[in-house]
């Protein structure tokens, strides 16, 4: 455990001594802030119109502002995550520091887990920017806090899954750009996998759609924690980290 924490805290430090952390948080804050602004402005306008027409009960902030915002955040996350994970192993391989890690009395899976946890922590810091926006709703409104929590849990699980895939890809190359681009393509693919089920009802299409990372996120944004989705994310994380460990081991044999 101590080894994992050593690696993990080193990763977190190196995110925050470089501009990466601030850049990612800034970018995400900017984009999410824009979404937040337009979602709440739309909500205000729609609310005013409903009042003037004199119809309808009270509108739910959760349904009209928070749920769509989480949807947006999860997509933006898919684009930012490759930037977090691409350096994890590619940088160590390029600079030769991987030799230090792999000749230290520490197991391969401890290195992998430590690095991945560092990346997840970084991603959580990015999500904080979203939380700051959502907190405003609690100051001036009275939304239900439970779907907000599940939404963040969903974002976290989804991000952790993509990070584990990104970590794996980062072990395959010395080049950060290649690692980033490959992870990005795979994220994109995992996102659009769900589209196949919209025009095809066949069994295989359902299976492919099931693999889409985004379909498993939707229930979370609505406040539903479905075991099916949690299991999907956890097993995907496990698979990603397992492949990473194997890939790290194979570096020794392939050399």
């Amino acid at each position: 455990m101590r080894n994992i924490l050593t690696i993990c805290s080193k990763e977190i430090k190196s995110y925050f001594v470089s501009p990466i952390a601030y850049l990612l948080m800034g970018l995400f804050g900017l984009i999410f802030g824009y979404f937040f602004y337009s979602a709440s402005a739309y909500f205000v306008m729609a609310g005013m119109r409903a009042q003037m027409q004199g119809g309808g009960g009270p509108m739910s902030v959760n349904e009209y502002v928070i749920a769509p915002l989480f949807g947006n955040a999860s997509v933006v996350g898919l684009f930012l995550i490759p930037l977090i994970s691409m350096r994890l192993f590619a940088e160590e391989k390029r600079s030769g520091t991987i030799e230090l890690l792999m000749t230290s009395p520490i197991k391969d899976w401890e290195i992998v887990l430590g690095k991945w946890m560092g990346a997840v922590f970084m991603y959580m810091c990015v999500l904080l920017m979203a939380a700051a926006n959502v907190a405003l709703l609690f100051i001036w409104g009275n939304p239900d806090w439970r779907p907000v929590l599940t939404g963040f849990l969903g974002l976290l699980l989804q991000g952790a899954t993509v990070l584990s895939i990104g970590t794996f890809i980062s072990t395959l190359t010395k080049n950060q750009i290649i690692a980033g681009a490959a992870t990005f393509s795979i994220c994109l693919l995992l996102w659009v996998l769900s589209w196949v089920s919209s025009y095809n009802e066949a069994g295989w299409a359902q299976v492919i759609a099931y693999c889409s990372i985004l379909t498993h996120f939707e229930p979370f944004s609505k406040g539903i924690i479905d075991t099916k989705d949690v299991v999907f994310y956890l097993s995907a994380i496990f698979l990603g980290l397992f492949l990473t460990t194997r890939s790290l081991e194979s570096m020794r044999w392939r050399a």
């Binding site: 080894n3 050593t6 190196s14 030799e99 230090l100």
Partner: protein, 328 residues
């Protein structure tokens, strides 16, 4: 301390190390000598459990590199060819990270960092960012990280490469100062370094060990004739040359460029006349009333022995496969 038996390492297309065996006893400093691509780095990487051997056995401090890699790693301090430093970290911060990686008890770390910094003369840069240090300092940080957990075995891959002469000297002194309590293998292609700091030499060429002996024994293997360089002042070139040729045991005298009134010659001795050649030459010059300004043996250094050995080897095996070229 280190035992290697029939070690072979094959990469996809070529064999980097072929069936080598050697042993290093406790407290010895062994120089691993070879041209670039001879298989030095590969051997070291196998010993540090970075790469598994294709065939054969290797053990460090009694632990097998394949069976008990964690125990091997605990007993080794390793400086790879490029020091494995993180440019964004401070020196002390980096050393702390390495100390934790090497499972040092938490309470000892701060004290040990101070010790190691003093030893590697890093005191004044302790809180500087590694990325801003010069190559020499970075190399020393690399050595500091190798010794931080006080391992019984040190493996240093070209510890002086890319350093200026003063830094090289410093690193050599540092290595020498470590010799008491550590078993050290260091690789190099600089021969004077081996002469300066190693007790034993292993010469490796094209993945095979072509000589493994003490430095003193290797010297004895040298040629049985001697070549002497001489500088004489205050004489006539022809006369001096004639006088030199008359000295007993001289086979041939060659004139070299003279400058500022100094006459320079190269004198080759006859076989078996090694011991008395220089004293005889000196006496001859002085007794003739000239000034002897310089007299030294040339060649017969480890350098020549090394070149002889590797040349003979390459000549004999001109058709064997290339060494380590694609190993990286």
């Amino acid at each position: 301390m280190i035992k290697v038996e029939g070690l072979t390492k094959r990469y996809a297309r070529n064999v980097a190390v072929k069936n080598i065996s050697f042993e290093v006893g406790k407290g010895e400093i062994v120089g691993f000598l070879g041209k670039n691509g001879a298989g030095k780095t590969t051997t070291m990487r196998v010993l540090t459990c970075f790469l598994p051997p294709t065939a054969g056995k290797a053990s460090v401090a009694g632990f097998d590199v394949l069976e008990q890699p964690l125990d091997v790693k605990r007993n080794i301090g390793y400086l790879p060819e490029t020091p494995p430093v993180y440019p964004e970290m401070e020196v002390a911060e980096y050393l702390e990270f390495v100390a934790k990686l090497k499972n040092m008890p938490k309470g000892d770390i701060a004290k040990r960092i101070d010790e190691v910094c003093e030893r590697a003369a890093l005191g004044d840069v302790k809180h500087k960012i590694i990325g801003k240090l010069s190559k020499g300092y970075r190399q020393r940080v690399g050595i500091a990280q190798a010794i931080i957990h006080n391992p019984p075995v040190l493996i240093l891959d070209e510890p002086t490469s890319g350093l200026d002469p003063e830094q090289q000297l410093h690193v050599r002194e540092l290595v020498a100062s470590l010799s008491g309590d550590h078993t050290i293998i260091l690789s190099t292609h600089i021969l004077s370094e081996v002469e300066a700091s190693c007790s034993n030499v292993i010469i490796i060429n094209n993945g095979e060990i072509i000589a493994s002996d003490s430095v003193a024994n290797l010297h004895k293997r040298g040629k049985s004739t001697e070549t002497v360089s001489i500088e004489v002042a205050g004489g006539d070139a022809v006369a001096v040359r004639q006088r030199l040729e008359e000295v007993r045991g001289v086979a041939r005298v060659l004139s070299r460029d003279a400058r500022e009134g100094l006459l320079a010659f190269e004198v080759e001795g006859l076989e078996g006349e090694k011991d008395m050649l220089r004293p005889d030459l000196a006496r001859a010059i002085v007794q003739s009333g000239w000034n002897l300004t310089e007299l030294k043996t040339i060649g017969d250094s480890l350098e020549e022995i090394f070149l002889d050995l590797t040349r003979a080897e390459s000549g004999a095996k001109a058709t064997t496969t290339e060494g380590e070229s694609a190993a990286q």
